[in-house]
């Protein structure tokens, strides 16, 4: 679908939402708007796409309640804003939209969280991506180093070939916020696997140790909870070039969620899981078993950690024997470990010993 067309369709869908509210009022009904609820109890596994997607349960926003009435009003203002923006052929960041909402009288948001969430709601309700609304995140994409060639259209509309090993500095290739086909195409790809790394420290360690060349790997820095574009980039690369993906994070409950968002889809973005998730992605570590097996320096779990682990036990995405066992083990150990705890055995230990061993088990390194 051409860009123009996508935006037009998006506006049309948005106006349908407004029309529904109007029609309610016109017929003398209390206006409502159903929004699929984005909670862990409302995600279901899609066998065909192998990702976790939103289920059927909806929350009804009704003008009968003050919160609901505010949400409906904000929805209308946001629709008006997006419509005007597309008409004017502009785009804005989510943050800019939040600031603009200051002028929306009673419809203004209390915090950017709220406006971000409403934008996501509109994605869900209209089945469009927020890029179609010309809304983009201000977050910069993550870094990539490895022997992959990316053809990226620059601002002048000219396609540029960038080799992510030879044409970049130490910080690598930076993933743009739009990684769709009209912007990013993949050229040659000479790697055996993609390794997505949670922390910058570990990313830099692998770069310094030359892990990408030695092990024929593409290194992707996730920067904590990965941005949509990073996940989309990983998914496209993995599927189009048929390269396996592994995820390497700290050994704590929050990191498992990072893995889950890459592999299964995040709850917040479950409505677009099929765009973002890479179902074949595997987890390297740090696992709770690693803490024992490698005798890693560890920290005590905090109350919040324990809570998060327990919540993961009831999270359908973690319902498999591997995760159940590991999480239970960690609850017993009451410990967590960082990726960089491997430095206990020297700076090269991670590339010389730990990763080769773990990746070997997975059959990714010979």
């Amino acid at each position: 679908m051409k860009n123009e067309q996508r935006h037009k369709e998006a506006v049309k869908s948005l106006l349908k939402v407004a029309d529904e509210i109007y029609t309610h009022l016109d017929k003398g009904h209390i206006p409502t708007m159903g929004v699929p609820s984005r909670t862990k109890t409302n995600i279901t596994f899609n066998q065909r796409q192998m990702v976790w997607k939103l289920g059927k349960s909806k929350t009804l926003r009704s003008a009968k309640k003050l919160d609901g009435a505010y949400m409906l009003l904000r929805t209308l203002y946001m629709i008006e804003f997006i419509e005007a923006m597309i008409k004017a052929n502009k785009s804005s960041t989510l943050r800019e939209m939040y600031y603009i909402s200051e002028g929306w009288d009673k419809a203004k948001f209390g915090a950017q969280d709220e406006s971000n969430k409403l934008a996501e709601d509109l994605e869900v309700v209209t089945a469009h991506m927020r890029e179609d609304f010309k809304l983009r995140p201000e977050e910069d994409g993550a870094r990539v180093i490895g022997n992959i060639t990316v053809n990226e259209k620059n601002r002048k509309g000219v396609e540029k070939k960038i080799n992510c090993r030879d044409d970049v500095g130490d910080s690598g290739y930076s993933i743009p916020y739009n990684v769709e086909l009209d912007k990013v195409k993949f050229g040659d790809c000479d790697v055996d696997f993609i390794i997505a790394i949670e922390t910058g420290g570990m990313f830099d360690r692998l770069v310094e140790n030359g892990f990408d060349e030695d092990s024929r790997a593409a290194l992707v820095h996730l920067k904590g909870q990965p941005a949509r574009s990073t996940r989309r980039f990983i998914k496209r690369l993995s599927e189009e070039k048929d390269v396996p993906v592994v995820v390497f994070t700290d050994g704590d409950p929050w990191s498992y969620r990072i893995f889950a968002s890459v592999a299964f889809g995040a709850i917040k973005t479950a409505h677009i899981s099929e765009y973002l998730a890479t179902p074949t992605a595997q987890y390297v570590g740090i696992t709770p078993s690693d803490i024992i097996n490698y005798d890693l320096p560890s920290d005590k779990l905090t109350d919040k950690d324990v809570q998060a682990l327990k919540s993961e036990l009831t999270d359908p995405r973690f319902k498999d024997p591997f995760w159940t066992n590991e999480i239970k083990l960690q609850l017993d150990l009451k410990k967590k470990a960082e990726q960089q705890a491997l430095a206990k055995y020297g700076l090269d230990y991670v590339t010389d010993k730990y990763l080769p061993e773990k990746l070997g088990e997975m059959g990714l390194l010979k």
């Binding site: 407004a18 029309d19 009022l25 016109d26 409906l72 009003l73 209308l76 004017a88 002028g103 009288d105």
Partner: protein, 792 residues
């Protein structure tokens, strides 16, 4: 045992034993049983006397109290007033002789009763320190003031003047100053001179009181009312409930020959007709002589008295504080705790116990910084004197304890005992003879009639508190919805119609679905010494509604001419009723009127009640309580049930936005001037004649002849009798003229009562519509555009 009985005994005894000895033996009943209490009692006796004297002389009291610490546990107590003073000759008697007083034989509401008080203080001082007291006095007629040092000759019960002098009292026209020395212990507890003076200030808002504590700390209780209590009249005993012994003694000492004359002249409220009725009921001849009455016949007469309906004693012998002044007094003293709410105080009608008229007043203060966890503080007062001791043995306390306070929003274990919560309860009993449990006048005796009256007052006042709290809670809950329909929904309508390019839809149906209540707002503004009250009724239900609205405001301050909508009924007691015509769905109705002659803080909010509609569907007013309209009219419970009627008939009609009758009403506005004389309100002249009396109940009854069937009328007659003031007799001739006027009222009843000039400018949902208009092309949109420009 009554105090009169004891006093008599005392009088007999003081001949046989020395007064000192008697005092020593009885200092507990006189309030001097501990050093702590002695200081309090001394101050109290002095201040009570000062207030009595000032009031009798018609002087606004300025009272100065000082307690100074001397050597060891010796204190100097000083009480000075600006009262009429005491003539030189009387000074030694007043202060140096027990059982010498001016009030002993008078049946009248005053603080002093026994003629013991101040001389007991002097005596206590003398016994504990051996020192004389100094009295300074000046009357207006005396050229110079007199000062006397005196002691009491305890053998003779006579005072001994040690020294006397004339002197020039700087700038003082009249008044008394007492200086006494006594053993004591100064505290600041709940039972202390400070607490006593604080209480005194509450119930005597017309007094200015300064108090200097031993450490030099000065407390000033300013005068907050320039109005002296109404002067009280001395009265004869009322026959109801009089005791046989007293009755027999009265028979013995009368100079009347016939019982009939005796009854008529020596008792309150007994006419010859009533006397005859009594004698007939007692099966005695109406010519029977006084000397022929033996104990049995006496008893028969008392029996008969209890069966004959006798008018309540005249109010003139009692001087209640009144709701507005109670409130002023409470505010003056308790405002430091920043209470949320001063429940409108209750002044009950006078009643009688054992032949003595009494009157109960109640006030409740709630919230703010009053302690939430503690027991409620009960402030007890008798004849404007705070009672600080023997709380447990007092009828007032028992009345409080015997009520279930839980339903009024206070904590109370098992529904008995002193409740807990952030409240202060004040109860005042005014009587020509307060039945104290002892001479020290610390607690009111447990008398059924009194407890009953106190509880009635407490209930009424607590209900006002409850009403206020309910209203607050319900409004808070419903406020959200109000915001939705008033603000958010109109914006949703506007924005969505803009986006889809269609006309703004009518919001009436949605608004009524969301709210489905009658919303009543009351606002009070104080301007130019007037409380401007606006009551706004929004009908946020899907159908038209008819209802009666009742408002209660302080007595005697409504400006009759200020009503934007003439009330259906109104009383000088501050009760107003409107039988409102149908308010159409999503319409509103404003009613405005003024109160005049009140200070700003005398009034915060109306009490609002409704009838003729399910109160659960009303926010901002409560269901009319059954006993609301005590002075006559019974609450009307729905002539037609508008809920039912409108649900069936008016749905379609009401939802049609154009109303044909509108025009009609515009061309026939109700003219206030015309409407007024026909209105069922108290005519101004009558008010002037009897400023304080409610003579209306009877007329009220006639106003509704169609409704009133015989048995009902009789039921109503009862309470009237009790509450009917003496003045009623005078009122009688007028009664005949009133029904005629009433007839004129009738036709008016059918004319629409909603003041359309006020009510109708906004036709369909009024506030929303206005907003919709004004928000077209408004800034936010421009804002968006300019921001976008900035983005390029």
């Amino acid at each position: 045992m009554t105090s009169l009985g004891i006093a008599e005994e005392l009088a007999k005894k003081h001949k046989e034993i020395s007064v000192a000895e008697f005092f020593e033996r009885n200092k507990h009943i006189l309030g001097f049983d501990s050093p702590t209490k002695a200081l309090l009692t001394a101050v109290k006796e002095g201040v009570d006397n000062a207030l009595d004297a000032c009031e009798e002389a018609g002087i606004l009291p300025d009272i100065h109290v000082e307690i100074r610490k001397g050597k060891r546990n010796e204190f100097k107590v000083v009480i000075e007033d600006n009262g009429p003073g005491i003539i030189k000759k009387q000074v030694p008697h007043v202060f140096g002789r027990l059982l010498y007083g001016s009030r002993f034989h008078a049946i009248r509401q005053s603080r002093g009763q026994q003629g013991i008080g101040i001389s007991a203080a002097v005596m206590y001082g003398q016994l504990t320190t051996g020192r004389a007291s100094t009295i300074k006095s000046k009357t207006a007629r005396m050229d110079t003031a007199v000062t006397m040092q005196l002691m009491i000759d305890t053998k003779k019960n006579r005072s001994e003047v040690l020294k006397e002098d004339f002197f020039v009292w700087d700038g003082k026209e009249h008044g008394v100053r007492i200086e006494m020395f006594m053993e004591g212990r100064y505290v600041r507890s709940k039972q202390s001179p400070l607490e006593y003076l604080r209480g005194t200030a509450i119930v005597n808002p017309h007094a200015s009181i300064t108090f200097i504590e031993p450490d030099g700390l000065k407390h000033v209780f300013e005068r907050v009312s320039e109005k002296l209590p109404d002067p009280t009249e001395e009265i004869k005993p009322h026959p109801t409930g009089i005791e046989l012994g007293i009755f027999m003694r009265m028979l013995k000492s009368t100079d009347k020959l016939k019982v009939r004359t005796f009854l008529q002249t020596e008792f309150e409220s007994v006419s010859y007709r009533v006397a005859d009725e009594i004698l007939a009921k007692a099966k005695l001849d109406r010519t029977i002589r006084v000397k022929d009455i033996d104990l049995d016949r006496g008893r028969a007469i008392l029996d008969a008295i209890s069966k004959v309906r006798i008018q309540a004693p005249s109010k003139e012998c009692l001087s209640p504080i009144g709701d507005i002044l109670i409130r002023k007094g409470l505010r003056n003293v308790l405002d430091g705790a920043k209470p949320d709410f001063y429940s409108p105080p209750i002044t009950r009608e006078p009643r009688v116990y054992k032949g003595n008229p009494f009157q109960v007043e109640v006030g409740i203060v709630y919230g703010g910084q009053l302690p939430r966890e503690h027991q409620v503080q009960v402030l007890r007062f008798a004849n404007r004197v705070p009672l600080l001791y023997q709380q447990g043995g007092c009828a007032i306390t028992q009345a409080v304890e015997g009520m279930d306070w839980r339903r009024y929003g206070l904590d109370q274990k098992g529904g008995r005992g002193i409740p807990h919560g952030p409240a202060v309860i004040m109860v005042h009993i005014a009587s020509t003879k307060v039945p104290f449990t002892s001479e020290s006048k610390e607690a009111v005796a447990n008398i059924a009639e009194i407890i009953e009256e106190v509880q009635k007052g407490l209930r009424a006042c607590a209900r006002r508190l409850q009403t206020h709290l309910n209203k607050k809670v319900r409004k808070k809950k419903a406020r959200e919805k109000f915001d939705i329909v008033q603000q958010i929904l109109p914006m949703i309508a506007e924005k969505s119609s803009e986006l889809v390019g269609k006309p703004v839809p009518a919001l009436g149906p949605v608004i009524t679905q969301i709210m489905n209540v009658i919303w009543i707002d009351d606002t009070v503004e104080y301007q130019k010494k007037r409380h401007k009250i606006t009551l706004t009724l929004y009908n946020y239900t899907p159908t038209g509604k008819k209802l009666s609205l009742y408002a209660e405001v302080p007595a005697n301050c409504i400006d009759d001419k200020s009503f934007s909508l003439a009330p259906t009924r109104m009383r000088s007691s501050g009760k107003i009723r409107w039988d409102l015509g149908r308010i159409k769905t999503t319409e509103k109705l404003d009613i405005t009127f003024d109160l005049k002659g009140l200070d700003k803080r005398d009034f915060d909010e109306c009490e609002l009640y409704v009838s003729g509609i399910t109160a659960a569907n009303v926010i901002g007013a409560e269901a009319l309580p059954g006993d609301w309209d005590i002075d006559g009219e019974e609450p009307e419970l729905a002539e037609i049930d508008p809920e039912v009627a409108s649900a069936v008939a008016s749905t379609e009609l009401d939802d049609i936005p154009v109303e044909p009758e509108e025009k009609d009403e515009d061309t026939h506005p109700i003219e206030k001037e015309k409407a007024r004389p026909d209105m069922d309100v108290i005519p101004m002249e009558e008010k002037r004649v009897k400023p304080d009396k409610n003579t209306l109940p009877k007329e009220e009854k006639k106003a509704k002849p169609d409704k009133d069937t015989a048995p009902k009328g009789e039921k109503k007659a009862k309470p009237e009798r009790d509450t009917l003031p003496m003045g009623d007799k005078k009122a009688r001739p007028e009664r005949d003229t009133i029904p005629k006027e009433e007839k004129k009222v009738r036709p008016d009843k059918d004319t629409p009562r909603i003041d359309k000039r006020k009510a109708s400018p906004d036709k369909s949902p009024p506030p929303p519509k206005k907003q919709i208009k004004s928000t077209r092309d408004k800034p936010p949109k421009k804002h968006v555009q300019s921001k976008l420009e900035g983005l390029m």
